[in-house]
Symmetry: C2
Subunit: 659 residues, 2 copies
C-alpha cells in the first residue's frame, strides 16, 4: 500500500509519513522541483515538516547531498534486508522431509559375480542402476569409466550430454581440486574447502557414479579395470569394473630427478599437501617463538626452501612471504619475522623460464626486493631431515656444494608416471615414453584397442613422431605410384601429416623450403630416405604439450564433446558401415591445443604471459590474476566461497589456526 500513488494531499501525508520513519526518504518532491513551485509546496508541507523551507538557506546543497546519500544507504539496507529475507525463506524451504520406500536394487549389484583373470568381483551392476527410470535407461547405454577426478576428468564430465553413457568415475579422492590455488590454500589465503567440489555433485547431471578406489591394473582383452577400494579401517578389497570406453586421467607424481631424501620434502599436488604445509609453517613459527629454541635452531625453523622455479614453486615462495609479512608478523615475536629466510632453488638460469624473458626478469626483481633468496643454475644434490644440499658453479667456474639448514622443503620439479600409468604403459609394447602414456592425436592410447582406451592430462603425452606413419603417408600421397614424392604429392602429404599430428603444423609452414632443403639429390622429388630424415627432424622439433591444468581441461572437454557426438551419431555411423573403432575420426578432427596464456602470482603482484604480449604489475595484476582463476571455477559454490575467502583475508587477515 505504501507504494501506490496518493490521490489527495491528505492521503499523501498519510502514506508518506510512515515511510519517512521507516527509511529516511529524501523527499525530492520538495527539493528537486523547479524554483517556482517551491513556495506552494513548502506551504503544503509546512504543517508536517519544518525543514521544507531550508532550500533557500546556505548549506542546502550539502543537505541535499546528505539526503541522497541517506536515501541510497537506506534503499541499500532495505534491499539487503529483502535479500536476507529471501535467503531465509529459501533456507527454510530446504528443510523438507522425504521418505525412502522400497528401493529396487539389482541382485547382481547386491551380490556381484566373480570373473576376470584374477577371479575378482565384477561390478557389472551398481547399487543405483535400477532405482529409477533414468538409471534403468542408462544402464543399457555404453559404460564409460573415467579414472581420476582432476582437470581432465571434470572436463570430460562437463561436456558429456546426459543420457548418452553410463558414467562411472574411479577416484581415490571424493572431490576434485582447483589445483592452481593450492599455493594460496597452503598459507591460508583461501580455505581448502573453497577449492574442492565433490565428484558426486559434478557427476549428478549425468546421473554418474563414483567408485572411491584406486586404479591398479587393466585387462584390455576383457575390458576390465582392476581397482582397489579404500575402506575405513585399512582393510582394502580389489574388484573389476567393466567398461566399454575407458578414460585414463590419473595425473602424475613428482619427478625425483634421482635426488635422495625426497621423503623429507613436501609436495603440492593435493589438498592434504596444502594442509600439511600450512600446519608445518605454523608449527615452525610456534616452535621458533619458544625461548628454549636456540638461535641456530630458530633460523633453521624459519628457513623455507622451495626446489623448482616453475609457477607452483614461485607462487608458494611468494605466498609464504606474504603470510610472514602480512600476518605472522603481527602475532609472533618480531625476532621471528626477522629470522625468516625464503630460498628458491632453480636448475635453469631464470625462474619462470617457460614464460617470456621480461616476466622472468620482473619476477626476479620482485623476489630480490622481497629478500627472497634466488639460487639459479643450481642442482639439488640431496635432501636431509634438516637440510638441503645443492651444487652451483662458483665465481671461479668450479662446482661448489652448499647447504641450507631447514625444516621445510617443497619439491615441485617436473612430473613422472604414477604406478597405474606405469602399469598401463608396461602392458603395451609400443609405449616407450618415459613420463606418460603416449596417445595419438585423437587422445587414444597407442597400442590399445582403438576407441576403447583414452588418456588425457598429465598422465598422457601426444605422439610427436611422424616416422611410424611414413609408409602409410607415402602410400596415400604417391598418386603416380613411382615410389617418389614430387612437390604436388608433397603438398598432399603435408596436409595428411597436419591432420594426423596437428602439433606438427608449425614445423610444416614452409612447404617449398622444406621440400627443397631435404631434396638432397636435387631430383625435384623426395625418396623414402629423404622423407624419413625430413619427418624425423620435424618430429624432433615438436614440443610436447606442457603438463598443465589448461591442457588437461581442454583435452577433457574435447573428449567429452567427441564421445557425446559418437553416442549421438551411433545409429548413423553403424548404418554407414563404419566400425566402432573408426568413429573417432568420423565425428571429430584431432585434438588441437589453444594456449590461452600462462599466469603466476608473485606476491601482491602477478604476471601474465599471453603469447603475443606480456602483462605484469602489482595489485591490479593480482586482482586480474584472481579474476581469471575465479572465472575458471568448477561451480558457483566455490566461486562464492573464494570471493568470501578473499574478502575475509582483507578484513581479518589470513587464518592462523593450524587446521
Amino acid at each position: 500500500m505504501l507504494w501506490t500513488a496518493p490521490s489527495s494531499t491528505r492521503s499523501l501525508h498519510a502514506h508518506t509519513r510512515p515511510l519517512h520513519r521507516v527509511l529516511p526518504l529524501p523527499a525530492h518532491s520538495r527539493l528537486s522541483l523547479p524554483g517556482r513551485f517551491r513556495p506552494t509546496i513548502a506551504k503544503t508541507y509546512a504543517t508536517s515538516t519544518s525543514s521544507s523551507t531550508t532550500a533557500t538557506k546556505p548549506g542546502f546543497r550539502w543537505r541535499t547531498f546528505a539526503r541522497y546519500t541517506i536515501y541510497l544507504v537506506g534503499s541499500s539496507v532495505v534491499g539487503l534486508g529483502l535479500l536476507t529475507g529471501a535467503i531465509f525463506l529459501h533456507d527454510a524451504c530446504t528443510y523438507r522431509e522425504r521418505h525412502i520406500e522400497g528401493v529396487p536394487v539389482s541382485p547382481r549389484a547386491l551380490h556381484p559375480e566373480r570373473g576376470g583373470p584374477k577371479n575378482l568381483p565384477v561390478l557389472s551392476r551398481l547399487l543405483s542402476d535400477l532405482e529409477d527410470d533414468e538409471n534403468r535407461e542408462l544402464v543399457e547405454k555404453p559404460h564409460l569409466v573415467i579414472v581420476g577426478g582432476g582437470w581432465g576428468a571434470v572436463g570430460v564430465i562437463d561436456k558429456l550430454s546426459p543420457g548418452d553413457y553410463h558414467v562411472t568415475i574411479v577416484s581415490p579422492e571424493t572431490y576434485t581440486t582447483f589445483t592452481p590455488l593450492l599455493p594460496s590454500a597452503a598459507v591460508g589465503t583461501v580455505s581448502v574447502r573453497s577449492l574442492v567440489e565433490p565428484l558426486r555433485k559434478i557427476a549428478a547431471r549425468l546421473k554418474g557414479h563414483l567408485i572411491n578406489a584406486r586404479a591398479i591394473d587393466l585387462v584390455m582383452s576383457e575390458r576390465l579395470l582392476e581397482v582397489e577400494t579404500i575402506v575405513p579401517g585399512g582393510k582394502s578389497e580389489r574388484m573389476y569394473i567393466p567398461y566399454d570406453k575407458l578414460i585414463i586421467a590419473v595425473g602424475s607424481t613428482s619427478s625425483t630427478h634421482g635426488v635422495p631424501g625426497l621423503e623429507h620434502c613436501f609436495q603440492l599436488k593435493t589438498i592434504s599437501d596444502a594442509q600439511a604445509i600450512r600446519k608445518r609453517i605454523i608449527d615452525n613459527f610456534e616452535a621458533a617463538s619458544l625461548p628454549t629454541t636456540t638461535p641456530e635452531e630458530r633460523r633453521k625453523l624459519l628457513s623455507f626452501v622451495v626446489c623448482g622455479g616453475g609457477p607452483t614453486g614461485v607462487e608458494t615462495a611468494a605466498e609464504i612471504y606474504d603470510l610472514c609479512q602480512e600476518d605472522l608478523i603481527n602475532y609472533f615475536p618480531k625476532i621471528c619475522r626477522k629470522e625468516v629466510s625464503i630460498h628458491l632453488i632453480q636448475s635453469r638460469e631464470h625462474i619462470l623460464n617457460t614464460y617470456s624473458e621480461a616476466i622472468s626478469r620482473y619476477a626476479e626483481d620482485k623476489f630480490m626486493h622481497d629478500n627472497i633468496d634466488l639460487i639459479t643454475s643450481a642442482r639439488v644434490q640431496a635432501i636431509g631431515p634438516d637440510k638441503v644440499m645443492y651444487s652451483k658453479r662458483g665465481p671461479d667456474g668450479k662446482m661448489e656444494t652448499h647447504e641450507i639448514p631447514t625444516n621445510f622443503v617443497l619439491w615441485s620439479t617436473g612430473i613422472a608416471m604414477n604406478p597405474f600409468t606405469r602399469r598401463v604403459a608396461d602392458l603395451l609394447p609400443n609405449q616407450v615414453h618415459k613420463k606418460a602414456i603416449e596417445v595419438d592425436a585423437h587422445l587414444r592410447v597407442k597400442g590399445a584397442p582403438l576407441g576403447e582406451v583414452y588418456a588425457i592430462g598429465d598422465a598422457s603425452t601426444i605422439e610427436t613422431s611422424v616416422v611410424p606413419y611414413l609408409l602409410e603417408l607415402v602410400d596415400e600421397a604417391d598418386k603416380n605410384k613411382d615410389g617418389k614424392i614430387d612437390f604436388e604429392e608433397w603438398e598432399i602429404m603435408v596436409s595428411r601429416i597436419k591432420k594426423r599430428i596437428p602439433m606438427a603444423e608449425e614445423q610444416l609452414q614452409k612447404v617449398r623450403e622444406l621440400f627443397d632443403l631435404y631434396d638432397s639429390d636435387s631430383d625435384n622429388s623426395l625418396n623414402l630416405n629423404e622423407l624419413a630424415v625430413l619427418l624425423q627432424e620435424i618430429g624432433n622439433k615438436i614440443t610436447a604439450l606442457p603438463a598443465t591444468a589448461q591442457v588437461a581441461s581442454q583435452q577433457g572437454k574435447y573428449l567429452g564433446k567427441k564421445l557425446s557426438k559418437i553416442a549421438e551419431r551411433r545409429k548413423v555411423l553403424e548404418a554407414n558401415g563404419l566400425r566402432p573403432e573408426e568413429a573417432d575420426e568420423a565425428v571429430s578432427g584431432p585434438f588441437r591445443y589453444s594456449h590461452l596464456g600462462s599466469l603466476a602470482y608473485i606476491g601482491n603482484a602477478a604476471v601474465f604471459d599471453l603469447g603475443r604480449f606480456s602483462f605484469m604489475g602489482g595489485l591490479a595484476a593480482m586482482y586480474a590474476w584472481r579474476s581469471v582463476y575465479w572465472s575458471e571455477q568448477v561451480s558457483m559454490r566455490t566461486r562464492a566461497l573464494l570471493m568470501i575467502d578473499w574478502i575475509v583475508r582483507g578484513v581479518w587477515g589470513r587464518d592462523l589456526s593450524r587446521l
Copy 2:
C-alpha cells in the same frame, strides 16, 4: 554534481536526465505529488518525458509499484557496488610493506637459565618482552599464566584490562574452539574454520603470549609451571614457566564409566574429533555404495551409534540424521539412505534429562518421528571394533544384553580429569574430589597458596561442603561465646555461610525452619553436633555446577574482572596493610553463577530450557538457536563465517568432501 538541487526548470532537466539513465529513478516528483499539482507539473515535464501523463491511465498503480521496485533494486545494486568498491579499496590497503630492523631481545630469552627441582630451562623472559615500550612495561607487571585455551581462558582474557598483567597462555592448541557447534561441524553444516579463533589474536589486545605446549606439572613452592612443547618431528622438550598467578582452565576428558573398548569410539571435544567424525561418515557411505559390500556389512557401515543422551549426543544424532536426509540422499544410491540407522543409548529414562520434562518429551517425539532408535534406561557394557553391547531390562524385568553392529560410535557421557588436573589434585592432600579440582567460592584452588592458583571451567568444581568451616563459622557467630548458637547467632552464621558458599543459598532460605528442624534437643540453640549434621546435610543437597561452556565462560569473566580489580587497587590494598592473599575477598564477592538457560538442536527443530519456561519448536526455534550461538561468538570474523556457512548450506547443501 548530480546530487545538487536545480535552480531552474532547464537545469532540472539537465541534471535529472542522466540520473534516469544511470539508475531507474522513479521520479516521485511527478507521481507522488498531491493531485492538484499534477497538471502543472505534467505540463512542465511534457517536453522531456511522455510517460508523465500515464498517471491518469489504468495500470498506473502497478507502474508506480514497478518503478519503486526498480528504484529500490537499483539503489541496492548501487549501494552494494559502493560497498564492494570500499572492500576492494580496503583490501588494496592491506598489502603494505613493513620492514623489521634490529629487534631488541633479552639475552635471558635467547638463552634461558636452568632451574627448579628438575633443572629445566626457566622462561623468565620471552622473545618479545623487550621488542617495544609496551612490552618492556608489561614484563615488570605480575606474570599471569593461563593454562588452557577454551571457554574459561577466553573469558579471563576477555575481561582483563590491558597493561595490568604480563599474560602467557599455555595451550596445546593454537586456537580456541566454539565447542557448542562441534556437532554441526562434524557433519559439515558449518565449517570447522568458522568455529576457531587463534589464541594469539585473542591475546593481542593484552599483548599476551602463547606457549604452544602441554602443562605437565606444577611446583607451587617456586611458582613454576612445567610444560612440554609440541615440536614438529616429535622431539619434545620440557621447561618451566614462572608465574605470579596461575589459572588452570584445561577442561576435561570423557569419563570412561569403566566401559572397555572406548578406543573404538569417537569423542567430540575438539576440532580434530569433528574432522575425524566427518571423514568416517563419508568413508562409510562411500564403502556402503560399493556393490562388493555385503548387505550386512552395508547395514553395519550405515549404523551410527551415539552413547549419551545429553545435548552433545542428541545434537550429533540430529545432525547425522540431517546430513543423511538432506544431502547424502541426493548423491548416494538410494539404498544407502534406506539402510541408515541412528541409535541413541541413554542410561537415564529420558534423553536431555537435565532439561524440563516437556522438552525431553518433545525431543523424544521428534526423534521417534525421524526413526532415530532411542534406547533409554540402558547401560553400555562394552564396545568392540564393529559393535556396541548394552544391557537393558526386558519386558519381563530381567536384564538382557543387546548388540548393535556398527562402524561408528560416539562416546559423550560425563567428564573426568585429564592428566594435568589429576597431577595438581595429587599434589594437594585436601583435594579429594574425583572428577575435578576443588576450588573455593573465589575459584582459588583449595590447598594451594591463596591468591596464586585458580581453576575454572570443567577442570574445577566449587566446594559444596560447609563442614570444614564449622569451627571457624561458630567462632565468628557465637557472640556470647557459650559454645552454642542461638537463633540470632544462627542468622549471622547463615549470612556467613552464604558469603562463603553462595551455592548454599537455596538450601538456607528457610532460616527458622532449619533451626527448629535440627535443634533435636529443642533447647532453642544448636550445639556443635547439631550444627555438624545440619551443615553436612545442606552440603549434600547442593548441586555442583554443570560442566558447561556457560559455567566456564562466566567463571573466566568473573576471574578476569577480579584480577583486573586486584591489579588496579594493588597500591591501595598494600597501603591498607592487606596481604596479597587477602586481595580476592577485598575487591570482589564470591563467584555467582547465573543460569541463562539451556538449548539444544534436535534436527530442524530446537528446544530452549530457560528455567521458568521452556520453548520448543521447528524451524523458528532452530533459527533462534542459531541466533543465540551466533551472538555468543568470540569474534566478528567467526560470526561472519558462521553466517556464510549457514547461507552456503541453504543454497548448495552441506559440503560432502571428506575434508
